[in-house]
């Protein structure tokens, strides 16, 4: 097929042809075409099938408001469904396919649904498929699911790159049409920093689509000249292919820039960039959108918006038809007829609903006054239209104009509510606009060119004067104001056939009337009942006519009926762009421990803990499964010595004259009198008395403490301490800094840990039990002068130390410790062995400190002091909490060959296993290689009084139960002799 519909002129580059395919058919267009204009040039009128009835559909508009011409662009993993052909820039090699049909586009098997339309009216989902119930899952749902949706995803991972960025400006001008360019010129000349953004690839807006003149030259030429002037200004940034999709608080705007969508390949560059624009002021110059008139069978390919038909002829040199009729209720429709005739297109008739003389002379066209179209013919493309007086007019394209609606969307993204203006029969911005925003041009109801140019300049000057700039004296560009008188007509009452309001969702006048009859009369209900205004076009051409029909039904005025609320985004934003680079592995940052490289080289398997990657165990040759490694590591630590990277625990440096007093307030137990060189275990409560976090805090000197927190709460505890310091006790001399990443810290645990450390710690430090007793701490040097901190603390229950060195020495330290430990049988251990040993010792972690348990529950009730002011102690004394008799206990299976199950609930023997008899639950379980059987920790009512009792541990989730004996939570060395040795 050749480009049979090309006419002279236009802003396309005929010297640069571009080959593309549509449904496998090769076609040619030119640089400067959109896919839609190229399809029309090639005479392709049928481009898709409608959502519900699978009706044949063609191109309806020439912009982002397009409801019909949705196609799948590209192929393979790059396939992009639901792309509006009207905004898809043509490139050489583009492939597009139509969507939403079974079989070919021409013979869609699903078109049968159109014959079932009497049963598929608004709300049919709620009325049909109700019975028999059994059919729902097996039949109705699968059928509905398979027929729902429009385009198809490739189901492959998106291979494109998306980016995000931030921009700042004094004035953001949204839309580079006449008023936007005029505004940007005024602001740019004053020296203000301006961003001018437009969704089109060719800025100019309607200037590119009209034959109107500005300052004595063609509108398109004037736009080119003005943009050249703007481009030469250092303070102006022009962003084409950029949609401002949302207006947010305090002058922040969301923008989507399509960087490489118009190229065959991104070549490794980001496909799209999501910008956050911080503006001091904004001018919304978003123009207006033409609205259709509803009449019988008004959805056939060939029925189009009149302004769009004009755009295709003037800007793209492509006529949508060879024989065009115009149906209008306003003067603007006449310009379509005139422009087409000027390009030599045969205009057969101008059907004006008004009883008004011809607006202008259109050679060869009949003027039919006081008439309307009530029906059309031509299943896959328009052939003729039937008027209200029954005369039939042959045409292959009908240009419909129902007047223009200002694009008020962005004014409503916060609190703005549009107001009705009778003189233009349209809503204009109203209510409270977003802070800093003013509206100019057609978006503000200034629908004519001269007015739009003048208003753009005036509004911009006002905005920049507010910012302290001096407005330039240069006058506004001059143009005439074209005729636009409009006499509203929303639908043709004489139509017998279905008349479409929302083409994308197949909502007809009949559906709106039905919605009214059934009581869904508010616009918000109308929308949800009929699906009016949903999906990719958000009803840009549908909403106003539909609510006018509703107003007619209720006898109210249109403003009384109101509009639905516009929300961002203005046009669809791909999820890829919203995600940016934060996907897959980069979804969140990865934190590596200082010894990560060493661990990787030594057989470590890693587990994700928050953002951290921690070694969970180190596999040695011959070990068949993780349990082999974990058992070995745990046993070896209790027999020889184990080394574990514990850097991930939060570390907070607390300094100042009041540091001790401050710690006394944030910990529930006493800290004020902790001696220098000593460490103490501390428990933090929430203000409501529930346990929050635990850890050890070391007093390095009189006014210097080093606090540790759990890994998970490192950030939260720091935040909380800052709150306490700044908001609760603002006069204390305390300073905090997080040093979690500053120090690499290693647990060196086991009977031979002292021997190992003697080889590492420089000789002047006495490591004997007397010289460095349990819970001691000191600043030391290691390996001949490297600064380090040494703490004698133990999570494993063995004789143990933790040694910290500046993080940059962490990997070497791990290597040195393991090498020095060879003669003592030292081996690294991971988080699993750490977990086994802490369960053996009855130490709590997040399983027990789960945000529901009290100090009493975990057996540390004595640690909540009532003799001092501290967070949480007052509310921890509430009777309900004091009276709670759940206690943390140890559990072992009566039959040692069984593994206890975490999450099991305890039931007293002889009782039925139900909620009423629930005695508590198992929080943590492990297989203890030291004891040779499975063990667990858990909370059970009156646990401290029930040692030795056998209860049922029931896990309905696993369908299992076993008998367990209640024992002390300290399975190993309950007296703590090892760690003090």
């Amino acid at each position: 097929m050749s480009q049979i519909n090309r006419v002279k002129g236009g802003l396309i580059d005929r010297s640069t042809p571009m080959n593309f395919t549509f449904n496998g058919k090769s076609m040619q267009g030119f640089a400067g075409d959109t896919l839609a204009s190229a399809l029309l040039a090639n005479g392709q009128r049928l481009v898709g099938r409608s959502f519900k009835y699978h009706r044949p559909r063609g191109i309806f508009s020439a912009g982002s408001e397009e409801p019909n011409a949705l196609v799948q662009l590209r192929s393979g993993a790059h396939q992009e469904p639901n792309t509006r052909a009207t905004v898809a820039e043509l490139f050489d090699g583009l492939t597009a396919t139509s969507q939403n049909h079974r079989g070919s586009l021409e013979f869609d098997l699903m078109a049968l649904t159109d014959y079932a339309s009497p049963f598929l009216s608004a709300g049919f989902y709620y009325k049909t498929f109700m019975w028999p119930k059994a059919l729902w899952e097996k039949f109705y749902e699968p059928v509905i699911r398979s027929s729902a949706g429009l385009g198809r995803l490739s189901m492959d991972e998106d291979p494109d790159i998306y980016d995000k960025g931030f921009l700042h400006c004094d004035l953001l001008v949204i839309g580079a049409g006449p008023s936007g360019i005029s505004a940007a010129l005024a602001a740019g000349r004053s020296g203000a920093r301006v961003i001018l953004a437009d969704e089109d690839f060719a800025p100019g807006g309607r200037l590119n689509a009209e034959t109107l003149e500005v300052d004595g030259m063609s509108g398109a030429d004037w736009a080119t000249q003005a943009l050249a002037e703007l481009a030469a200004m250092d303070n102006v940034q022009i962003m084409t292919r950029t949609t401002i999709y949302g207006s947010y608080d305090h002058g922040v705007y969301g923008a989507l820039e399509r960087c490489t969508d118009h190229l065959a390949s991104s070549n490794g560059k980001p496909r799209q960039i999501l910008w956050r624009i911080y503006s001091k002021r904004a001018v919304l110059a978003a123009g207006s959108t033409e609205r259709p008139i509803a009449f019988g069978n008004n959805d056939r390919p060939g029925v189009m918006l009149a302004g769009a038909v004009r755009t295709y002829v003037n800007r793209f040199g492509a006529t949508p038809g060879q024989q065009v009729a115009v149906f209008t209720n306003n003067d603007d429709g006449w310009r379509t007829a005139a422009d087409l005739a000027a390009k030599g297109v045969n205009v057969t008739a101008i059907i004006d609903s008004r009883d008004k003389p011809a607006v202008c002379d259109v050679p060869g066209a009949r003027h039919i006054r006081n008439a309307a179209v009530r029906d059309t013919a031509g299943r896959k493309g328009l052939k003729s239209v039937t008027l209200t007086d029954d005369q039939i007019i042959d045409c292959d394209c009908l240009a419909v104009s129902g007047g223009w609606n200002p694009n008020v969307h962005l004014t409503c993204h916060q609190r703005g509510r549009p107001e009705w203006r009778d003189d233009i029969s349209a809503f204009v911005p109203g209510g409270t606009l977003p802070v800093g925003m003013a509206v100019a041009g057609a978006a503000n109801g200034a629908l004519t060119l001269g007015a739009a140019l003048a208003e753009g300049r005036a509004i911009a000057n006002q905005q920049i004067k507010d910012l302290g700039f001096t407005a330039s004296r240069k006058a506004a560009p001059k143009a005439e104001d074209e005729a636009f008188e409009c006499s509203p007509m929303w639908h043709v009452g004489e139509s017998i056939k279905r008349a479409w309001l929302d083409l994308q969702n197949d909502v007809t006048v009949k559906d709106v009337k039905l919605s009214h009859r059934e009581g869904f009369r508010s616009v918000e209900l109308l929308k949800r009942y009929t699906t009016l205004g949903m999906a990719t076009d958000q009803g840009k051409t549908a909403n106003i006519p539909a609510l006018a029909v509703m107003a007619e039904c209720t006898g109210k005025t249109i403003p009384e009926t109101g509009t639905t609320i516009f929300r961002p985004p203005y046009t669809p934003v791909p999820l890829g762009a919203l995600g940016g680079r934060a996907r897959g592995h980069d979804f969140r940052p990865t934190r590596l421990t200082p010894s990560h490289e060493w661990a990787k080289a030594n057989g470590a398997s890693f587990v994700t803990v928050g953002n951290w990657m921690r070694a969970e165990w180190y596999t040695r040759p011959g070990e068949k499964g993780w349990r082999d490694s974990v058992d070995r590591e745990a046993l070896n630590t209790r027999t020889n010595v184990g080394i574990c990277d514990v850097t991930t625990l939060g570390k907070i440096d607390v300094q100042g004259k009041d540091a001790a007093e401050f710690l006394n307030k944030v910990y529930s137990n006493a800290f004020a009198k902790l001696a220098v060189g000593k460490v103490r275990y501390g428990l933090m409560l929430r203000e409501d008395g529930i346990c929050y976090d635990d850890g050890t805090t070391a007093r390095m000197s009189e006014n210097h403490f080093v606090m540790t927190t759990t890994t998970a709460n490192a950030v939260l505890v720091f935040r909380r301490l800052e709150f306490a310091r700044q908001c609760l006790w603002p006069n204390m001399d305390v300073h905090l800094i997080s040093t979690t990443d500053g120090w690499a810290q290693f647990a060196v645990a086991g009977p031979k840990s002292r021997d190992l450390l003697r080889k590492i710690v420089d000789e002047d430090t006495d490591l004997s039990n007397e010289g460095f007793p349990f819970m001691g701490c000191a600043e030391v040097t290691v390996c001949g002068g490297t600064p380090a901190r040494l703490f004698r603390i133990s999570f494993s229950g063995e004789l143990a130390f933790e040694i910290a060195v500046p993080a940059r020495f962490g990997n070497s330290m791990m290597e040195v410790l393991n090498k020095a430990g060879e003669e003592f049988g030292a081996a690294p251990y991971g988080t699993e062995a750490l977990g086994v040993m802490r369960i053996e010792k009855g130490h709590v972690t997040a399983n027990e400190l789960n945000g529901q348990t009290t100090a009493q529950n975990i057996g540390l009730g004595m640690m909540v002091s009532q003799k001092k002011e501290c967070i949480g102690n007052v509310l921890s004394q509430r009777p309900e909490m004091v009276g709670d008799d759940l206690r943390l206990m140890g559990f072992r299976p009566v039959d040692h060959s069984l593994d206890v199950i975490a999450g099991s609930h305890f039931i007293t023997k002889g009782d039925e296993a139900n909620m009423a008899n629930d005695q508590g639950w198992m929080t943590s379980t492990a297989w203890s290689p030291n004891l040779g059987h499975s063990i667990g920790l858990g909370f059970i009512k009156r646990g401290n009084e029930r040692i030795g009792e056998v209860v049922r541990a029931v896990s309905p989730v696993h369908g299992k139960e076993m008998e367990v004996e209640i024992v002390s939570a300290h399975f190993i060395d309950p007296e703590g002799e090892r760690l003090r040795g």
Binding site: E687, R719, L728, N731, E869, L875
Partner: protein, 95 residues
Amino acid sequence: MIINHPLLGPRDAAEFIYLGDASLIDRPDWQAEDAAAKFYEYGYLRDNPAGQHQELWYHEQGDRSWLVVTRNTLTHEITKVELARDVARTRGRDK
């Protein structure tokens, strides 16, 4: 939203963590007769005004200042931003 930090100037709200009602500064006296009742109110009862609201924001991705931001919950207009420490001192927190 943009919060005009008293020390650092206008900063994006994304740099902050929101806590809630600035009445959390007014921690009751733990030794008062009715301390339990007062702490209950402090911990659980909040006003939820449609309009002016004083609230606590923490500049976690910045200088770690806690701020008291006076914000209109209907319009998001921010009329005042103060360092929480200064507010706490004015409210008589003397330690």
